[in-house]
Amino acid sequence: MPPAVSTPPAPRPGVPRPSALLLALALALCLAVPGLQAAGPGPGPGPGSPGVPGAPPPGLLRQAARAALHFLNFRAGSPSGLRVLAAVLRGRAAVDARRTCRVDLEFTAERYDPEVADGRLGRCSARVVFRHQKPRPAVNVTCTRFMETSRSRREDFLLYKRAKRLRAPLGATSIPNSHGWIDPSLRPIWDLAFLGSSYVLWERTTQTLHYYMAQLSSVNQWKTNEDAIDFDYMVLLHEFSTQEIIPCRIHLVWYPGKPLKVKYHCQELHTAQEGSGTEEGSAVAPTQPNNF
C-alpha cells in the first residue's frame, strides 16, 4: 500500500517558527508548513485534506512547481528536455506583510514527451516568489538531469534537423486534432510550440492562476532556410481556475544550444481576471530574464 503524499500540519497562524525568529519582525508567518519526509509513489490526498490543518491554500505547492518548471523549460531552451510536474514531495510557504508569497519546495519531474517518458523522474528544488496576485513569479530552480548533456544535445540536434526538413502546414490547424492525435512527423512543431509557450505560461502564472497549452491552432510562419528556426504561431491556453481558453500569438527563434528568443501577445479576455489589471502580455524576452 503506497504511503500518502501530503502537505503536513502547520502551526497556528501568528506563531512564528523557532528558526525564523530573526525574520519574525518582518514576516507574519501564516502559512508556514514544516517539511515532511518524501513518500513513495502512489496516489495521495490533496492539500487541505482532513488531518492537515492550516495547510497552504489548495494546490499552492503544485502551482509553484508548475511555475518553476515552465521557467526552467524556457531557460533550458531544449525541446527534448521539456519537463512536466510528476509530484510535489514537500514544501512550505510564507506570506509577508505585503502579501508576497514565498514558496520553497521539492518535487519530481518527468519528460514532457509521453512517448519517451520512461518513468524516470528528475528531482527538483525551487524557490518561487509570487507577488500578491501578480504574474511573473520569481523562480530559482534546479533539477537533476534526466540524461547526459551530450545526449540531450544530440536529441535537440535531431529535432532541429527534422524541423529544417519539415514543410509545416501553414494557416489554421489543429494540433492535436479533436481526437488527441498528433501526426508523428509534425511532432517537432508541437515540441517547439510548447517550448515557446513555456515563457508565456511562466509569465502568466500567479498564486491562483495556472495554464496548460491546449492546442496549436495556427502556424503563421515556419522559416527554416536560415540557421535558426523562426516560428510564428497561435496557441490556445487553458486557464485554471477560470476555465477560460486564451488565444496567444507566439513568435520564437530557436537554435539548439542557444537561448530561446520569444515574443508573444495574448488576447484580452471578456472577463476581468481576479486581482490582475491586465489580461494581455506583450513581452520581448531578454536573453537573460530576471531571476531574483
Binding site: M1, P2, A4, P41, G42, P43, G44, P45, G46, P47, G48, S49, P50, P58, G59, V84, L85, A87, Y112, P114, E115, V116, M147, R151, R154, E155, L158, R162, R165, L166, R167, A168, P169, S174, P176, N177, S178, H179, G180, W181, D183, P184, S185, L186, Y212, A214, Q215, L236, H238, F240, S241, T242, Q243, E244, I245, H270, T271
Partner: protein, 418 residues
C-alpha cells in the same frame, strides 16, 4: 496501432514530398550501444535523405525510418553488414497512400465487423445508437429513459440498469456535463458496456445490481457536445441564449441550487463559468433535478469530468467539511487505490474546495444537500499534457481504471444503506 501511427505520419509527409513511389518504412531494432551509434551515423548521412521518426536511446528500442526509394539498397546493405535487425513495415508507401487513407487513420469509427469501436471518440448520433443497441440487446437489464429536452430540443436520455424491483435504491452517474471533456462520454459508454458484460460474472457488480439500480446519463450536455463536433472542440457550456445577451451558454456545473452564485462562479454571460440567470434555469439541469427528486431513492451520485486526475466530494462552494467527511475521505482513498492498481495512474483526493478550487452551484453540492450522502466528482486523465484533447488510445485504459473506482463507491453504497 503502430501501423496506424505510421500511416498517419505518412500523411504528414505529403507536405514535404510530392511522390512516395517505392519509398519504404523500416523498423530497426538495435541490439547494443554500438549498433545505436551506427544508426546515429546513418542518420547523419545527408545524401541518404533518411527521415527518422524515433531515435532509439537504449538497446531493444525500435526506430522507424522512412527511406526514399533511391537509398533503400544502400541502407539495407549497411544494416545487414552491421548485423542490425530490421523489418520492412511498409513495402511501398505510395500504394498505401493511393488507397482510402482517411479510413486508415486512428479515428476509425467502426471496427471491421460493424461493432461500436470503444477505442475511438464518437458523435452524438453514434453514442445514441449504441445506447439503443445496448437496450435492445439486453432488454432484461437495460432500458432507455427520457428525462427531458435540451435547450436546442435534443432528447436527454438516461440508461437504466435494473434487475427488477420497484423504485429500488439507486446510483446516478453522469458524464459529459462539460462538452469538451470527451474522455468522459467515452468512459461512460464503455462503462455501460462493461456493466452489461459483467453482470452475472463480476461478483461485486452482480450483488450491486441485484439490490440496486444504476442510472447513467452519458451525454449530459448534448447541445454543447454537438457543438464540439461541428464548430468548437473546446466548448464547455450549454447553448442557451437569452434576448439581449451577447454571449451564449451557461456552465451547467454552476447552475445548481447549492451556494448558487457564490465564489468560483461568474455572473458574466461571456465567462466559461457563467452560472446562469438563476439556479436550475437550464433545462439540462432542471431535467436531472426533476428526475432525481421524483425518484426519491438515489443513494449515490457520481459526476464525471476531466481533466486533472482527482476524485473529490463536497463541498465546492465552501471550505466547511461535510458531516460524513471522514467516511468520504476514506472511501475516496480506497477508490483511488483501486484505480491506481490498474495502470499506476495517480489521483489525488479530498473535498472540491480544498483539492481543486472553490466552485459554487455545482452538481455534487446540490446532491449532497438533497440527502445523497455519497456524492463524488471525478476529474479523469490527464494532468495537462493533452488535457481535453486526450488521445483516443487512452480511452480504454482510462475507462478500465475508472471502472474500479466506480465499483468501489457503488459497493460501499450497497453495504451502507441509509
Amino acid at each position: 496501432m503502430k501501423l496506424i501511427l505510421v500511416f498517419g505520419a505518412l500523411l504528414g509527409h505529403i507536405y514535404c514530398q510530392e511522390t512516395f513511389v517505392g519509398d519504404q518504412v523500416l523498423e530497426i531494432t538495435p541490439r547494443n550501444e554500438e549498433q545505436i551509434k551506427h544508426l546515429v551515423e546513418l542518420e547523419a548521412e545527408e545524401h541518404l535523405q533518411l527521415d527518422f521518426w524515433k531515435l532509439p536511446t537504449i538497446p531493444g528500442e525500435t526506430a522507424h525510418v522512412r527511406v526514399p526509394f533511391v537509398s533503400i539498397q544502400a541502407v539495407k546493405v549497411f544494416l545487414e553488414s552491421q548485423g542490425i535487425a530490421y523489418s520492412t513495415m511498409i513495402e511501398d508507401v505510395q500504394v498505401l497512400l493511393d488507397k482510402e487513407n482517411e479510413e486508415m487513420l486512428l479515428n476509425r469509427r467502426r471496427q471491421r465487423n460493424g461493432n461500436f469501436n470503444f477505442e475511438a471518440y464518437h458523435t452524438l448520433e453514434e453514442i445514441s445508437q449504441e445506447m439503443d443497441t445496448l437496450a435492445a440487446q439486453y432488454p432484461g437489464l437495460v432500458s432507455k429513459v427520457n428525462i427531458g429536452q435540451s435547450f436546442e430540443k435534443r432528447p436527454m436520455n438516461v440508461l437504466k440498469f435494473s434487475t427488477g424491483g420497484s423504485q429500488r435504491r439507486a446510483i446516478w452517474i453522469d458524464t459529459g456535463i462539460h462538452s469538451r471533456e470527451w474522455i468522459t462520454h467515452a468512459t461512460g459508454i464503455w462503462t455501460a458496456k462493461k456493466i452489461v458484460n459483467e453482470y452475472g460474472k463480476d461478483h461485486t457488480l452482480t450483488n450491486i445490481l441485484n439490490a440496486m439500480d444504476i442510472f447513467m446519463e452519458i451525454v449530459t450536455n448534448p447541445d454543447g457536445f454537438a457543438f464540439t463536433h461541428s464548430m468548437n472542440r473546446l466548448w464547455r457550456k450549454n447553448k442557451s441564449t437569452r434576448p439581449g445577451v451577447f454571449c451564449i451558454g451557461v456552465d451547467l456545473n454552476r447552475n445548481w441550487k447549492s451556494g448558487f452564485g457564490g465564489n468560483g462562479s461568474n455572473n458574466n454571460p461571456c465567462s466559461e463559468t457563467y452560472h446562469g440567470p438563476s439556479a436550475q434555469s437550464e433545462p439540462e439541469v432542471a431535467a436531472i433535478v426533476d428526475f432525481i427528486t421524483a425518484h426519491g431513492n438515489i443513494k449515490a451520485l457520481i459526476s464525471i469530468h476531466s481533466y486533472s486526475q482527482m476524485l473529490m466530494y463536497p463541498y465546492g462552494h465552501s471550505l466547511e467539511p461535510v458531516p460524513n467527511q471522514k467516511e468520504l475521505y476514506n472511501l475516496a482513498k480506497d477508490a483511488v487505490q483501486a484505480l491506481y492498481q490498474v495502470h499506476g495512474i495517480e489521483y489525488i483526493y479530498g473535498s472540491i474546495s480544498t483539492t481543486l478550487y472553490m466552485a459554487s452551484g455545482i452538481t455534487v453540492d446540490w446532491a449532497y444537500d438533497n440527502g445523497i450522502k455519497y456524492s463524488f466528482t471525478f476529474e479523469l486523465r490527464d494532468t495537462g499534457r493533452y488535457g481535453f484533447l486526450l488521445p483516443a488510445s487512452q480511452i480504454i485504459p482510462t475507462a478500465q481504471e475508472t471502472w474500479l473506482a466506480l465499483r468501489t463507491i457503488m459497493e460501499h453504497t450497497l453495504n451502507h444503506p441509509y
